[in-house]
Amino acid sequence: MPAPVVHIENLRFRWRRGDAPCLDIAGFTIDGGERVFLHGASGSGKSTLLALIGGVLTPEAGHVKVLDADLTKMSGPQRDRFRADHIGFIFQQFNLVPYLTVIDNVLLACRFSRRRRERALAGGATLHDEAVRLLDHLDIDAPLRARPVVQLSVGQQQRVAAARALIGWPELVIADEPTSSLDADRQAAFLDLLVRECGEAGVTLVFVSHDMRLAANFTRVIGLASFNRPAAEREAA
């Protein structure tokens, strides 16, 4: 039985001292290879939970373990390093750095992590080759790759972001409402590609959305309210 990819224990988080807790989670676990669909109303703390798993925020109490490493026991730079090495992120929109090329946007993930760089080199002869391979898989062909990123459509930008999240084989990919700015057809297409790529790479995927129509592709569908007490209380109220 491999270690869980994410394991949360007795976590409590609030944005400001004196505020009501935004997250209060007794326990939550994601196992390796899972494709988790995490849903919840906007403002229920989904993005905050992702930031805690990514090590960008630290909880007031409790433990966040990713791949058996306790993020709450690390320093800020250690968490940054850990995130760079093990987690790929895809956001809702504006995922790309406007002044970098498509390839350089993908390779950005390798710039801050030696581990990702070395693992990417294991997949292709050069970093560039590996980026091209991933982009090909995600249907970003050569003419598209040559364009300035600001000229790509939102859907194309999201696919480039997916390539960046996947390059160098991170153990965990976190996608925070990556399809909400796409129309329905493209949502489905993007989701298929993402799920397929994560499956091929053996990457654990946490997909956050409030749109239950997308839940079909996932191995587990879970509502934040089911394990986060404040959200549960809000929903009950």
Partner: protein
């Protein structure tokens, strides 16, 4: 670090319009700062190069600075003269090795005419004790012969053997001319980088000769003495403007100075050139410091503009910073990224400023030389200027830390999802 540098440069290039304007502002301010410094250094240099090996400068009693200005630098006019008898008495002193009489007041197309004698070509020194050298020809011997400084010859296109006419007074074009007595160019001096280059040299007797039929600054009506007859008159000068003195032994300088300052027949003044120059710098120093302070403030304004532009741009870059954070950039990396950007813009500004200044120096130095006798050497950056370049760079880095710090704070607060 190198990938941060590449990112910073590409990010800056992406905002090249606003940052470009900032670079221009910094470049102009740096050009101004270095220009003031260059002018200051070169003005001092050319002044102190103008006279060398002269122990005392003697003239009618006035302020030491004024005496230096009109006798050595040909700036302004003498208020009074030295009588020829006084000159002879001083020249006869046993402590004195040589004297150069100087008689000023006439001009040729704006260039000062200096009446002197052969001692000028033998004893006058400039720069590091360099003697005057001839590019062509030789010192004057006859009355209506002249030796030209390098600029006069070059600017007016005179060659050996040309005839020129002197004007009375210092105007560019004078109504009162000495056109009846033209001079032949017999010598042209090599360039010295001093006021000598702008001077038309003639003999003392020549100065007398062209003023024979003049009285009180105007021609006597109806009197005209043709050049071939001037030798019939006594051409010993009655007055001269100033005297340059070389001593046999330097320690005598104060004794001779006292002798001149207490001269019984007329009020005279003897100054040590170095001392008078120091006094000049003390006075000019106030202006220099003021100018320098102003240009330093202009640089500060330029750098403040940099801070403002980068700070103003931060808000729209929060998304970009969040992306960098998500791929593992530490807050420290964000800080370094923004610092590099500020430093890079400052550096471009400095290089631009140096280029502007080099171009301006190259374009204006001939003009400054002919009009003010100021030798501004075309160069990129001197050692003295380099310290200011480094100071601007350090200030620029310091200024860049402000937006860097702010970006760092913003990205810590924003995490992965900027609240815009």
């Amino acid at each position: 670090m190198s990938h941060l540098f590449a990112l910073a440069v590409r990010s800056a290039w992406n905002r090249r319009l606003t940052l470009g304007l900032t670079v221009i502002a910094i470049a102009l301010s740096v050009a101004l700062l270095l220009g003031v410094e260059r002018l200051r250094a070169d003005a001092r240099e050319s002044f102190s190069q103008s006279v060398s090996g002269t122990d005392l400068v003697i003239g009618a009693r006035t302020s030491p600075i004024q005496l230096m200005l009109y006798s050595v630098f040909r700036i302004g006019d003498a208020t009074n003269n030295v009588r020829w008898q006084s000159y002879q008495a001083i020249a006869a002193r046993p402590e004195i090795a040589w004297t150069i009489p100087l008689s000023l007041g006439d001009s040729h197309l704006g260039y000062p005419v200096l009446g002197t004698d052969g001692a000028y070509f033998r004893h006058f020194r400039h720069g590091r004790a360099q003697p005057l050298e001839f590019a062509g020809g030789a010192p004057f011997r006859e009355i209506f012969e002249t030796v030209l400084g390098a600029d006069v010859a070059e600017r007016l296109g005179y060659r050996l053997g040309d005839k020129i006419v002197l004007n009375h007074g210092m105007g560019d074009v004078s109504v009162a001319g000495h056109s009846d007595k033209p001079f032949t160019v017999v010598g042209i001096l090599k360039r010295t980088g001093t006021p000598v280059d702008r001077t038309v040299h003639v003999s003392l007797a020549a100065i007398e000769a062209i003023h024979l039929e003049w009285q009180g600054g105007a021609p006597i009506p109806g009197v005209s003495i043709p050049p071939q007859h001037v030798t019939k008159f006594d051409l010993t000068p009655k007055n001269i403007t100033a005297i340059l003195v070389g001593l046999r032994s330097r320690p005598d300088v104060f004794r001779v100075q006292r002798y001149v300052n207490e001269f019984r027949d007329e009020p005279l003044l003897a100054v040590l050139p170095g001392v008078a120059l120091d006094e000049l710098w003390r006075i000019v120093g106030v202006v220099e410091r003021t100018l320098f302070a102003i240009s330093a403030m202009v640089v500060t304004v330029g750098l403040a503009g940099l801070v403002a532009v980068v700070l103003a741009g931060l808000n729209e870059r929060r998304r970009e910073l969040a992306i960098l954070r998500s791929v593992g950039a530490r807050p420290r990396d964000i800080f370094v990224l923004l610092s590099i950007e500020g430093l890079f813009v400052t550096l471009c500004g400095i290089l631009g400023g140096i280029a502007i200044l080099a171009a301006a120096t190259a374009a204006l130095s001939p003009w400054a030389r002919t009009h003010y006798g100021l030798v501004i050497e075309p160069r990129l950056v001197s050692l003295g200027e380099l310290q200011w370049v480094l100071a601007v760079l350090a200030t620029g880095l310091l200024a860049a830390l402000i937006p860097a710090w702010r970006a760092c704070r913003l990205s810590l607060a924003d995490g992965l999802t900027p609240r815009l």
